[in-house]
Symmetry: C2
Subunit: 86 residues, 2 copies
Amino acid sequence: MNANVTVYITLKEGVLDPQGSAVQKSLHQLGYDSVEKVEVGKTINVKLSGESKEDVKKQIEAMCEQLLANPVIEEYTYVIEEVLSV
Amino acid sequence: MNANVTVYITLKEGVLDPQGSAVQKSLHQLGYDSVEKVEVGKTINVKLSGESKEDVKKQIEAMCEQLLANPVIEEYTYVIEEVLSV
């Protein structure tokens, strides 16, 4: 199957997020006083093929552990969409 | 209302994505030959308050135009969740 996978990577609870804090400060300086918290994450969209949905899942999880995410400080979720040929 | 907004920022069609290309090359080097394309984007989670859903929407769009996204090369979508007090 051809798949379109979106991986959402965020920092684990309790890990310092300096990028989020910087954005939050900038928003306050621009006058957005109602902002309470900002967190910054990544999305990685991967187009790939696999023998089955299970195979795609296995490949994506291996990629996340090996390269896409840092399992020490980040966690990830993903959504798999099947691409049907037209 | 208290809101939890997730903003998804991606590069516009046709804009070069060197970060995506770098990740794709690394995946190929690691043996993931079935990967056809990789695109990297950002998510920004903002907790804020507003008078109404419309007000939250207006604030978020202004933030995106002013700071969070670069309207020349990036496009954004967002999801607003209302946080109900417990």
